[in-house]
Amino acid sequence: MARIEVPMPQMGESIAEGTVSQWMKQVGDAVERDEPILEISTDKVDAEIPAPSSGTLVEIVVPEGETVEVGTIVAYIETEAGAAVAAPAAAAADAPAAEAPAARTAPPVAAPVVETPAASGGDQSAEERLRTRSTPVVRKIAEEHGIDIVSVSGSGHAGRVTKQDILDFIESGASAPPAVPAAPAPAAPAAPVAPSAAPSDLWKQFYGEVKHPEYPVRAADRVEGMDRMRRLTAEHMVLAKRVTPHVHSFIEIDFSSIDRIRAANKARWAAQGARVSYTAFVAWAVSRVLREFPMVNSAVSGNNVIFRGNVNLGMAVDLNPGLIVPVVHDADHLGLIGVGNKIVDVATRARDKKLMPDEIQGATFTITNPGVLGTLVGLPVIPKGTSAILGTGAIEKKVVVVTDPETGADVMAIRKRSLFSLGYDHRIVDGADAARFLAALKVMLEDFPEDA
């Protein structure tokens, strides 16, 4: 005879618990391996749980209507003599529970009827014992708080550490935060996690709620609340950095070709009242090049990538103090003068606070110009919901080595140059993609189309 445990199976990565909705077998019933013995429900899914082994259902631990964590023993099945001491793991292979870490190792001395000595816990590794004694929820909470589960006493079945045990442990203050944070990731901020937080709440907190750590105030300091714009910006920056793995690549752009066009059209544009800044040239070129690089004009959304059908350029405008990013919608359908006028228009209205709500929404790519104040180059943060941002550095006269087209000789020349940086979401944009994008942009800007 062997007593086999039936644990609440792990039915999905993010599923921490399940509700026993119905026992399809009663105590004393004979059950066949793989025959459904109970039904559980989580969210909007009902699932049948098959018997891990043939035998007799001898004990129902969790009654109908009760919700328990994954890994909790819900019932025991007694197998026929010598049927299979090693059955639990093997028998569960076809069951939905197959991938459940908790189901992989049954507690060694759980049952009154002990298995063969070889199968008992003697030769288990510490890791196995730890797993044996806790559920994924508990391990996750322990990890969040940098707690060694072994140091928590368990009140659960076979000395398991239950969720309540670990929450009590945390509340008792026994888990004073270690001097060196257990997790290297900044994702574990000083902000304490509410003790009652279930994993789904933790997830929400991670993505949905930004908490800024607080610091002591000294005598000479002045404390001011952040205004709405500052708070939104702060939250947006934290989220963008948390969620998106940033990488930056650089390229140097020669503005000689653009300068020639500007000089040639200066009088005409002035007569038209057209306002064609360097930024207009950059925005025009970017909007054209983006069409060839859909991943640079996209957004990672869950397990999908949304390739945007429009090119809507966000143009960061310094309000000093503060910053706003008005959007030039469908920039790729505007000519050079149209882009230039639109940029001046939205930037002016941004400073006058006269933008309409839809004029700051829907950007698919952003251009920021730290160079306007003389900065050589920046490492801009990618606005959330987009995959890239271009930072344009100061345009400065530099001595560069060029090849004289007449003689073929290398000569020194004075050229207007600027460093551009592309910040990109490394989940979707590879380094080579970024390099190709920047190279194409360079070609476009350095040999700027006369008819733009």
């Binding site: 039915m11 999905g12 990565e13 993010s14 599923i15 909705s21 119905q22 793989d34 025959e35 459904p36 039904e39 429900s41 989580t42 969210d43 909007k44 899914v45 009902d46 699932a47 049948e48 749980i49 098959p50 076809d94 069951a95 939905p96 197959a98 991938e99 929400k204 869950g302 999908n304």
Partner: protein
């Protein structure tokens, strides 16, 4: 790509739909049939999931009889819902074992699929945190309630309001959520949407999200 047998069944009574699914689940588990997607409409019916509360059925027996609405208790997850003409019901009978043994992933995939269908009609639909189903600014566009039988075989599925007479939802508290409205493709678009157009879009979205290839019957 794994094959998907798409069966368009027209109007099927709820009871027949349950029987057919029960048969197909057994056949799918035995490997006798490929993954199958049933597309159909039900006559007016109110169904109760295993998590249902009877007070979420607002129409009493007399009113149900007068309006020709049946009442059914089912084995799927979720609360009360209504099915009726103009609603595209999709019941995937899939073996999730090979590539997606995760209940939440299955639900999220069904939502993604429905969001794509809405997108095909230029409707912005979204998940709503904590509420299964697919929503627009107006209300709930599609309901989800699934069952996974022993061996990771799915049944039940999704109900997308195409041209549903939304008045019938007044007879229930949909999915037990009292404060949200119900909507349909027609209500969103202000034009009539033929059922075929919706089912085409659904099959395409389904094959895209689940990486299946529809078998042309």
């Amino acid at each position: 790509m794994r094959p998907l047998d798409v069966r368009r069944l027209g109007v099927v009574s709820y009871a027949d739909g349950l029987d057919l699914q029960a048969e197909l689940v057994v056949a799918r588990r035995a490997g006798d049939i490929p993954d199958t997607l049933l597309l159909l409409e039900h006559p007016h019916v109110i169904t109760l999931g295993s998590g249902s509360r009877h007070e979420h059925v607002l129409a009493d027996a007399d009113e149900r009889a007068a309006r020709g609405i049946e009442l059914f208790e089912t084995g799927r997850g979720g609360d009360v819902t209504y099915h009726g003409p103009g609603q595209l019901v999709a019941y995937p009978v899939l073996d999730l074992k090979p590539d997606r043994k995760d209940l939440h992933r299955y639900l999220r995939d069904l939502e993604s699929m429905l969001i794509r269908v809405a997108g095909a009609f230029t409707i912005d639909a979204l998940r709503s945190e904590g509420l299964t189903g697919v929503w627009t600014d107006v209300g709930k566009l599609a309901a989800i309630g699934v069952r996974v039988s022993s061996g990771w075989i799915t049944s039940h599925g999704v109900a997308l309001n195409v041209s549903t007479d939304l008045d019938y939802f007044q007879t229930i508290v949909p999915c037990g959520i009292a404060d949200r409205e119900v909507t349909s493709l027609e209500r969103e678009l202000g034009r009539s949407v033929p059922m075929d157009e919706a089912s085409e879009a659904l099959v395409e979205a389904f094959c895209g999200v689940f990486e299946r290839e529809a078998i042309v019957a």
